[in-house]
């Protein structure tokens, strides 16, 4: 049985108190609980503070371009479905520059687990307003307050056909671990948005602020995550932010639909030139 420390490559250097430490800890815990072989796990990260995770976590890693984690992760998973593929983005990566990929990945339902680390600010570039910053947010890029509505990722995911939508909080690594574990076991695309305070640049959305503004659906025995309308209602409520498993449905994954059941991964296929078969195809050009 593997242990958390088996995935610990080096000590991270995120700012002291950064929410991503909680995510790092949760990920190690999930990997150990699921007994994932680091050599069978690919973590694709985007650009932002979260993108450093590959430097600290032992697995195959791919630090992609800003906003492009999902297409890379999809290419990996489709070529070799036997790998566990985890993609991580920040709020800028997922909801701004890479938003197109976000919506289409939900639609495709490839078997990938996707963490969106939402700190409601562009941290690595020193504190600009992000798509999840609340209207009126004052930052170096919006000194007179932002005028745009903030984006609600899980709600957008629900509208885009997401088959697994959850939200966690880096201040609660135990619940976060449960959600990630569920997501990784889910057959299809699993979105887990993680509220994750930036202690250096975001002085509004602090640990205390989040604690005051969240509530937990997992504690509500009347809540049914299979009920799409209920999920929509919870996500539409203006004030408090729901955490936990928000929505889940059973739907064939993209791989289920495009590959034969017994098919071996593309990467294991024999590339040898099947001349007789190709000659036959060539005849069609006559």
């Amino acid at each position: 049985m593997r242990k958390d420390k088996d995935y610990h490559l080096t000590d991270p250097t995120w700012c002291k108190g950064c929410g991503i430490y909680g995510i790092f800890a949760a990920l190690k815990k999930v990997a150990a609980t699921l007994d994932l072989d680091p050599e069978q796990l690919v973590i694709v990260t985007g650009i932002g503070c979260h993108g450093r995770l590959n430097n600290y976590f032992l697995s195959y890693g791919f630090h992609a371009l800003h906003g492009r984690t999902l297409p890379v992760a999809s290419g990996v998973k489709l070529s070799n479905p036997s790998l566990s593929v985890l993609a991580i983005s920040g709020d800028g990566d997922a909801y701004s520059i890479g938003l197109g990929h976000f919506i289409h990945s939900l639609r495709w339902n490839i078997n990938i687990t996707y963490l969106v680390v939402d700190n409601r600010i562009y941290a690595l570039t020193q504190g600009q307003t992000s798509p999840t910053s609340e209207t009126g947010f004052v930052s170096v890029s919006t000194p007179y307050g932002s005028k745009e509505l903030n984006l609600n990722g899980p709600q957008l995911a629900l509208a885009s056909g997401g088959s697994f939508i959850a939200r966690g909080f880096s201040g609660d690594p135990a619940q976060l671990s449960r959600l990630i574990k569920k997501g990784m076991r889910h057959k299809g695309f699993a979105l887990i948005e993680v509220l994750s305070p930036c202690v250096t640049h975001n002085k509004v959305n602090t640990y205390n602020w989040f604690k005051k503004n969240i509530y937990n659906l997992d504690d509500d025995s009347n809540y049914d995550a299979k009920d799409k309308m209920k999920a929509w209602k919870k996500l539409s409520a203006e004030k408090k932010i729901p955490l936990g498993l928000i929505y889940v449905e059973k739907r064939p994954s993209y791989e289920d639909l495009v590959f034969r059941k017994e098919a071996e991964p593309i990467v294991s296929g024999d590339l040898g030139v099947d001349a007789p078969r190709l000659e036959k195809i060539m005849e069609k050009f006559k």
Binding site: P38, E39, Q40, V42, V44, I47, R52, N54, N55, L58, S59, Y60, G61, F62, H63, A64, L65, G67, R68, L70, P71, V72, A73, S74, G75, V76, K77, L78, S79, N80, S82, L83, G100, H101, I103, H104, V258, F259, A263, E264, I266, V267, G269, L271, G272, V273, D274, A275, L278, E279, I281, M282, F285, K286
Partner: protein, 585 residues
């Protein structure tokens, strides 16, 4: 001028009308008939970026010689409306014949003018009165062509049957053949015997008949491409559409992404995982791929990108031809990284080069671009049967699990004298590493140490030097001792060859350097060629002379070169090149 009884060795037939008229279908049936009668074929599609209601034309050229492009003149011209006549009748050859539906003629042209014949030919009226449907005008036109070109009706009927029997049934075949016979009978009444362009018949050869796009798709399949991601774009989509049918039959996957950014990043993921992966696009899609193009260079991931160039800039002219993406792929994307750019000149080379592209990509772990054009991308050509025994799959330094397990301290980006490091795939034991879009160390982990940076940059760029001996060398055509040199790449291959023949008839000897690898620049061969030329002409389908600029930036010795440029969105005609050279001498 084709006089009666004179041997015709080369003929061009233009069919023109409005988009939606069925011009392409009619033309392709004619092309197939001619191909089955043993002629070499080259077709040229000049169509609008619109489904219906704008002028379109299709030229089918047949020759007893090998041809790789449209010729100079139109010998036989069938027009479904007048608009087409006013646009193209200037291209009608001396002795040429034009049949026009002509119902909407306001001022008809004279029936004979400057040794050219014009006939009214009521295609629509005949179609409606005999078959009740306008669409039969196409087969009536084809019937008229069969008469003018003296085609073998058995071949014609066989091809019509191939085209319709499975899809539409016996009755449709019968009606279409009836329409062809009607067209033939009507032409007999209209066209005088001396206006005929009777073609000799030869036996059907083993030649193929396909577009450059199809040759690339087939070549990719043969080369072991098993992952293809793309976004729809003219004139490259035919590659995808072909692969979409065949890749799944070979346990491969074709996916349609939300945009070209996703397509490029997805093939990076697929190739990193170990699949031979490719995308196809045209100029605008290429622009969107630029950032990930650099990632392929930085992370040393083998990928193949086909750019079937169209007329730019911006949305430009999506269905027209141009060669103006050269700079985009040689200089495009920020920062310095290795890339290889190949340029096939014929449909046969499309097949050969795409196979080479996959091997180069894996051997040198870098992006390889196959630069083609709408001209022969969407145009159909007869081509020599592809030799599958020559297809080799070389995966370079990709490690097997057995090799990897025996390596102590595996480093994915290990410094090597040739710049090429051993490669492991995710899922392999003992191969853990990082793929970084940031600058990185030998294990792939982010590193901003200036010394490492310099070594890594050198390592990556060194791969191009290692590749230089393995690339497709430029090819010299024509008489070696000629003092007039012509340099070109891509689709100018055919027109330049024909221009050389035309020049020779006027006592001018010229030779031609076909650039087949554009980057890394084949400096030695180009310098050797230039040294033997007194005057050189660089022929390109673009405004600024992108190849010419490349030559000037690379060649160290002074040379006398002039540009022959065509940025009209149309392919060169051989005469454009030969007259330009004659005037310049």
């Amino acid at each position: 001028m084709h006089k009666k009884g004179k041997m015709i060795t080369d003929i061009s037939v233009m069919i023109a009308g409005m988009a939606g008229d069925g011009v392409l279908f009619t033309g392709n049936v004619l092309a197939k008939i001619l191909k089955r009668q043993g002629w070499e074929i080259s077709t040229y599609r000049d169509f609008p970026s619109n489904i219906r209601g704008e002028p379109t034309n299709y030229t089918i050229r047949a020759s007893l010689e090998r041809i790789h492009g449209r010729g100079d003149d139109i010998d036989v011209f069938i027009a479904f409306d007048c608009d087409a006549i006013f646009k193209h009748s200037r291209s009608l050859a001396e002795g040429g014949i034009l049949l026009c539906d002509g119902e909407d003629f306001v001022a008809p042209p004279p029936s004979k003018s400057k040794a050219r014949t014009y006939h009214r030919f009521p295609l629509r009226k005949l179609a409606i009165s005999n078959f009740g449907k306008e669409i039969f005008k196409n087969m009536i036109a084809l019937g008229a062509l069969c008469y003018i070109l003296d085609l073998d009706f058995r071949v014609v009927e066989r091809i019509i049957s191939e085209a319709f029997l499975k899809r539409k049934g016996r009755e449709v075949v019968r009606k279409n053949i009836q329409a062809i016979h009607l067209g033939c009978e009507q032409a007999k009444e209209t066209v005088a015997p001396e206006e005929l362009h009777a073609l000799v018949k030869r036996r059907d050869s083993d030649m193929l008949f396909l577009s450059g796009d199809e040759a690339i798709a087939f070549g990719a399949l043969a080369a072991g491409c098993r992952f293809f991601a793309a976004y729809p774009i003219c004139p490259a989509t035919e590659i995808w559409q072909w692969l979409a049918v065949y890749l799944p039959q070979f346990n491969g996957l074709v996916v349609q992404t939300e945009d070209e950014l996703a397509a490029m990043n997805m093939i990076l993921g697929a190739s990193y995982a170990g699949a031979r992966a490719m995308t196809s696009t045209s100029g605008p899609g290429g622009s969107l791929m630029m950032e990930a193009f650099g990632l392929a260079g930085m992370a040393e991931i083998p990928i193949v990108v086909v750019d079937v160039q169209r007329a730019g800039p911006s949305t430009g002219m999506p269905t027209k031809t141009e060669q103006a993406d050269l700079n985009q792929w040689i200089y495009g994307s920020h920062g310095d990284f290795p890339r290889i750019v190949l340029s096939p000149g014929t449909v046969e080379e499309c097949f050969e080069f795409i196979i080479k592209a996959f091997n180069l990509a894996e051997k040198y772990q870098c992006p390889v671009i196959l630069l083609t054009e709408q001209d022969y991308g969407q145009g159909f050509r007869s081509a020599k049967r592809f030799d599958l025994s020559k297809v080799e799959i070389e995966r370079g330094k990709l490690l097997s699990q057995e090799e990897l397990i025996n390596i102590k301290d595996f480093k994915r980006y290990e410094f090597m004298p040739d710049g090429i490091s051993p490669r492991a795939l995710p899922g392999m034991k003992n191969g853990l590493h990082m793929v970084e879009s940031n600058e990185h160390d030998e294990r792939g982990y982010r590193d901003e140490d200036p010394e490492i940076r310099v070594r890594m940059m050198k390592k990556r760029m060194e791969k191009l030097k290692s590749a230089s001996k393995d690339l497709i060398a430029p090819k010299i055509w024509g008489k070696r001792d000629a003092e007039i040199g012509i340099i070109g790449f891509g689709s100018t291959f055919g027109p330049i060859q024909e221009a050389i023949t035309q020049l020779e008839k006027n006592g001018i000897r010229a030779k031609y350097l076909q650039m087949r690898t554009l980057w890394p620049f084949p400096l030695k061969k180009v310098e050797e060629f230039l040294a033997t030329c007194k005057k050189t002409f660089v022929v390109e389908n673009n405004f600024s002379g992108q190849l010419s600029m490349l030559l000037k930036s690379q060649v160290r010795t002074p040379f006398d070169a002039r540009n022959i440029l065509n940025y009209s969105s149309q392919a060169f005609r051989p005469r454009e090149i030969s007259t330009h050279i004659q005037k310049a001498l």
